[in-house]
Symmetry: C2
Amino acid sequence: MGDSSKVIGFRGFRWDAVPLEQYKSDPEAFEGVTRQVLLGSRPGEEPLNFELRYFEVEQGGYTTLERHRHAHAVVVLRGKGTVVLGAEETEIQAHDCVYIPPGVVHQLRADREATLGFLCVVDRLRDRAMPVRRDGSGM
Amino acid sequence: MGDSSKVIGFRGFRWDAVPLEQYKSDPEAFEGVTRQVLLGSRPGEEPLNFELRYFEVEQGGYTTLERHRHAHAVVVLRGKGTVVLGAEETEIQAHDCVYIPPGVVHQLRADREATLGFLCVVDRLRDRAMPVRRDGSGM
């Protein structure tokens, strides 16, 4: 394969040679979430200006309620759940797409009796997410 | 929903309010390919520095054999086929991931008795793709 081209094989929501990582270092703000960075963070992938990640939320789990200045593009790959966008909650399921603009408080929840797995694309260089309280204030 | 947040519903490999577009304007270099830009090109989506597109290649079809300076991140969403990366051809199927670095000649083919549908993420600002001949020279 020329240069650093590669095909990363899929096996049951794991990908070849892609480590399964902890979602975030603060375990208090989320529940049952794993992260896999599919592309954009390893040697040879420097030409990508974005990262393509896969997050999986186990049934009953949820990501951190947070906001940041960078935008998110999300595509659900597996299962179903709910996305919180500001004051709105919307049911999502496989292959639905979500746009999260800068500054919007958001959370993804696997609250519909299924695992929720989704791709999330972000800029490689981005600001750090800030967790927020349910009332929307900073934590 | 706060700001320009949105959930774009999925219905049978079409997405709500996302137009089905022609793949490219030169019909001679490809066969049976459609394009849907899921995120990154519409008003309100300016904070995204990338575009998230879904391409579908009907059985027997193929994308243009081409190269460019921008990189591609691909995730197969549907079916199976083959990806050409330089001199190599690799079978791909649903949820396999492909990295196409700058300058690598590539093509996606639905040559395995199925439709091939894939997400492809690229920089919003990028150079124009150059079609190449089978022998690798410019066209």
